[in-house]
Symmetry: C3
Subunit: 264 residues, 3 copies
């Protein structure tokens, strides 16, 4: 865990290209946060070009937030190209548990491509793990389960890193499980905090082969910037502006001093 800031610095230096096939709600902020972390975002979802774009990319984000049939086809094509090339795929199961369509698409994607990281809130991940729960649109429903156990078990089943975001974030590769307790409540008042975290996770996975450590490091940096932003904000509107500013200001001192990450 000592290398969190080193990973951030590596991302800033290498500036990976992160290809996104994502929803049209939070897409601009996903692109902006990618830039703020020193990487390059690209968004493209036509089946005619996704494979060419993945060939240039260092990581692939698939986010099912505003799913449709055309996107599903492109996600598979992009995912297969990413698998061949060996770059990480981060799947944000946004809204799983809300509709059958989302649940089945997640299954379909996971069976046709090898996903590196599966990320969602508790009710989304519980859905993927096969529990019968309900997601309130894209906001987590109340689920009374052992989240550490779900993360570990699903990680082993899927042979992927599982990330559950919330007040406490859980990251598990089945063997190692991390708990991250950074972040601020105002993040619950803006959309896209989950989607943006996915972009940051993809950046870190592009530069760190231990994907569990990459995910945990990404969340720590992301949420420490949020804590710094919250201090100078009056609410969710000014918070978003300050958040982007604070990402560029993330320093070794603040990351090491503020990180609240625990190995379970």
């Amino acid at each position: 865990m000592e290398k969190i800031f080193e990973r951030l610095e590596k991302a800033r230096k290498i500036a990976p290209l992160v290809h996104h096939i994502t929803n049209y709600v939070t897409v601009e902020n996903c692109a902006n946060i990618t830039k703020c972390f020193g990487a390059s975002p690209v968004m493209a979802d036509a089946k005619e070009e996704v494979c060419d774009m993945v060939k240039l990319a260092d990581a692939l984000v698939l986010n099912i937030g505003t799913l449709n049939q055309i996107q599903i086809e492109s996600m598979k094509l992009a995912g297969q190209t990413a698998n061949k090339k060996g770059i990480p795929i981060v799947l944000d199961v946004c809204g799983a548990g809300a509709t059958k369509y989302r649940n089945e698409t997640c299954k379909e994607l996971c069976s046709s491509i090898k996903v590196s990281v599966i990320k969602g809130n508790l009710s989304e991940i519980a859905t993927i793990a096969g529990l019968s729960v309900q997601t309130k649109g894209v906001d987590s429903g109340n689920v009374n389960v052992d989240k550490y156990e779900i993360a570990r078990t699903l990680a082993n089943t899927m042979k992927a890193v599982v990330v559950i975001t919330g007040v406490e974030d859980i990251v598990s590769n089945g063997e190692n499980t991390y708990s991250i307790k950074n972040g601020v409540p105002v993040m619950g008042k803006i959309v896209g905090t989950g989607c943006m975290a996915t972009s940051v996770i993809a950046i870190f996975c592009a530069i760190e082969k231990d994907y569990a450590l990459a995910c945990a490091s990404a969340l720590v940096c992301y949420e420490i910037a949020a804590e710094n932003a919250e201090k100078t904000s009056d609410g969710p509107g000014t918070f978003v502006s300050n958040f982007f500013d604070k990402i560029l200001m993330l320093s070794e001192i603040s990351v090491n001093k503020m990180k609240r990450i625990y190995k379970i």
Copy 2:
């Protein structure tokens, strides 16, 4: 009119889920304002899932800002499900009066589903009322008509609440007509102020069965927050950030003191 703040408090407490089928221009701010008013937004427009999503929802927003054939099909399916379930449907006739396609789609939607609230600027609503006017893209054209009369008549014809937004907003269910004179000019310098108002109207309709009162209360709260935001802003950019902040700060004192709502 004494219960405006009580309605806001009820919305904050109940946190209704508002399903949006909307344009890709202002969608993020529609989601954000929904969150700031204490509710949950969800955006989904694939025909494969809109009915499932509406089954979870407490209100439905249909906004024709960037219309296409796929969306129209989903809007009908979602609308029919909403009608069966008895939840309010708010139709934002964004850009009606600019193209034949938008005009005809509005007719088609209103004939295949029962809309609870029809909302637009003056030239958009005049178009729906059958007048031959022209909308400048999505900005209101100059229309020299009696807006109170148009609102009342259209409300009676459509058996729906009609909302005309502008410097003065008009809300009418045919019987009762309200005029709201809150708001600030800087709102004319950013896109999405109409679309966001629609989201807020949907939230209030989810918790108040008298939809005319719900619409009027929504606009009062929305625009008082805008007035508060304008005081600490230097222009449209900082205004947007401050606007979201001020929504969370809306208090009984400010709402009651600042409201400029009149029954006509």
Copy 3:
């Protein structure tokens, strides 16, 4: 070059309607900047209505940032209507050089419609000029070429104004070539600075028939506002907010004092 501010004032007075067929990543900020410059934005891309919308419009923006087959068809229809009407078309070749699909679409568009302005970063424009270069997603790759020469030659070949954006912007109609050295580095940390510049160029082309002068004037105003915004910002987040504010504050004194535009 003495008339830069006069052109801005004319745009503010005439308030042209700019129709956009553009990507879903930066679309909201394109709409917002259009409003801040005093014009009206409209976004519509259904083939059923683009021709009607262009008939109302004073300029057309085509941006291939998130291209798909449906959009290409609409771009051609809109472009042909714009050509008939005689309004300017600004083509942003966003991501050209990244995929074959984008390169071929640019060719297809330029052969089926008469484009007034072709705009991109250096590797995008070099691709259009037929050089074998690579764009990093939508960010410029390193290209070692004479950019003045590329701009001039391509302008002559295409009989269009060519704009290359970067730390130094180049504008050429083949005969006259301008270099603009306004702008600030923080613009590289947010998405959409290129796309927004395209919207501003379209506004100026709507009110100034000498498109090279229009483009150069647009970039000067746009970037001086950015310089003013940077002074009161702590990073890319607050910069964006301040940027929109500063556009409304652009004055004759600041434009004339701060402009760094040179005829080559």
